[in-house]
């Protein structure tokens, strides 16, 4: 580790019950890098993203994210620089898309106007009154991408980056990812369609370890 990496994992292992999710996973993600994460269903991609996001503690190994060693109390200080869009929507179904986005702004100490602006940018200005549980998967996904616009993260983690999105929205994912990369941040995208990823390099999760993909 040279101290400049955004994500650094050294021999990270995770065991849940009798299943080994990860073993000796090594990963290094530097500023300006956009990396794809590939792997078959159930191989632990989502779990790996949650470890990188400091939400899940590995059972072995060490690592650091944005300078904070994982498993220590330091992670509380850097979490607000990470945005993760998971495979389940991080929205409250009873609230409208507008309220959900405003909530992100409020909970992160920003003004609600930022939220309205972000919602317009992802093309949901006219759907802001629609409840999340009345919205399509693609709309929820767009509303979640608005979160990345509001928070301007240094580390962006996108699970199933292209699932449920139309061509326009896929272009939007690229734009948002490129913006993070241009600002010196790092992006990791999970996808089952490597051709669409448009990344610098890809790693693949096989049998609990990470392999480079040429």
């Amino acid at each position: 580790m040279n101290g400049h990496e955004i994500v650094y994992l050294d021999d990270v292992g995770l065991r849940l019950g009798n299943t080994i999710i990860l073993r000796e996973a090594k990963l290094s993600l530097g500023p300006g890098e956009k990396v794809g994460l590939l792997g078959p269903n159930g191989s632990g991609k989502t779990t790996l993203l949650r470890i990188i996001a400091t939400l899940l503690q590995p059972t072995s190994g060490s690592g650091a994210v944005l300078g904070a060693e994982i498993g220590t109390q330091d992670v509380y200080e850097i979490r607000n620089r990470i945005v993760m869009v998971g495979h389940l929507p991080g929205l409250w179904p009873e609230l409208t898309l507008g309220e959900n986005t405003e909530l992100v702004a409020r909970l992160s100490g920003r003004s609600p106007e930022v939220a309205a602006d972000a919602l317009a940018q992802v093309g949901l200005a006219r759907a802001s009154e629609r409840r999340a549980d009345q919205s399509s998967k693609g709309m929820l996904r767009r509303a979640e991408l608005a979160r990345a616009l509001i928070l301007e993260p240094t580390l962006l983690l996108l699970d199933e980056a292209h699932a449920g999105l139309d061509a326009e929205a896929i272009g939007m994912v690229d734009t948002i990812a490129n913006r993070v990369v241009a600002g010196g941040g790092a992006v990791m995208l999970v996808s089952h369609e490597p051709d669409r990823l448009n990344v610098h390099r890809s790693v693949q999760l096989v049998d609990g370890t990470l392999e480079m993909v040429s």
Partner: protein
């Protein structure tokens, strides 16, 4: 002589229980209550163990949170299991004692009420442990609940005590020296029994964990390995 060396705690415990039992049965009977009062020698030591066991659970919980060493979690869990048995015993013995003396199975005596609530607190603690599968998550959640409960138990006791003192004077009375010695002997005997049971339970918990580890070595699977290529072939132009 290895059996004596390995089993000294058990041997001493059986001896003390024997003496305590003999003493309980032969010591002079209570003047007013007669022989039925002898149940005190079971009731009071059981209640003492109920509280001792929960204190040990709390210590184990706090130590786990500090060290994350699973041995402390095993201690907390084992002690709680033994504690719930003795809490139940204390309540049943108390009720059997109360019926002939007060004419009813239950009185709203503060210690009795607190012990009864302790029983349910134990049950909840053990139910929580049973509901969480992952060992580390289980230890963490149980430790937090163990400590929160332990902080509340004295407040529970004082609130009942206080309520009771407003409604009727305390019925506590001093007891004669021979009876007190017998009672003390009972407490010592029960404490030894607790130590024996705890040691056995800890050993069992350790073996369970070893078995789990062995099973894991044999049956471990890597994420995704259980999913194979679908055998359903695609026939696009059928």
């Amino acid at each position: 002589m290895t059996i004596v060396r390995n089993r000294w705690l058990e041997i001493v415990t059986v001896a003390i229980i024997g003496v305590s039992l003999f003493r309980s049965m032969t010591v002079v009977a209570d003047v007013t209550q007669g022989d039925v009062q002898r149940i005190m020698y079971v009731h009071v030591p059981s209640a003492w163990l109920a509280f001792l066991a929960f204190m040990v659970t709390m210590v184990g919980s706090a130590a786990w949170l500090r060290t994350k060493d699973q041995r402390w979690d095993r201690l907390a869990a084992s002690s709680a299991e033994i504690g719930v048995v003795f809490t139940g015993l204390a309540i049943v013995a108390g009720m059997i004692w109360a019926k002939p003396v007060w004419g009813q199975f239950w009185t709203w005596e503060p210690r009795l009420v607190t012990t009864a609530l302790l029983f349910f607190i134990y049950l909840g603690y053990l139910a929580l442990r049973r509901a969480v599968i992952d060992p580390v998550q289980r230890a963490r959640r149980a430790a937090i609940m163990g400590i929160v409960a332990a902080v509340q138990i004295p407040i529970v006791y004082y609130s009942v005590n206080w309520w009771r003192s407003l409604h009727q004077p305390s019925s506590a009375r001093s007891i004669d020296t021979p009876l007190r010695i017998t009672l003390l002997l009972g407490v010592v005997a029960f404490t030894f029994a607790y130590a024996v049971l705890l040691r056995r339970r800890l050993e069992l918990a350790r073996l369970e964990e070893e078995l789990d580890a062995k099973r894991f070595e044999q049956s471990q699977s890597v994420a995704g390995a259980d999913i194979t290529a679908p055998s359903l072939a695609s026939h696009p132009h059928d």
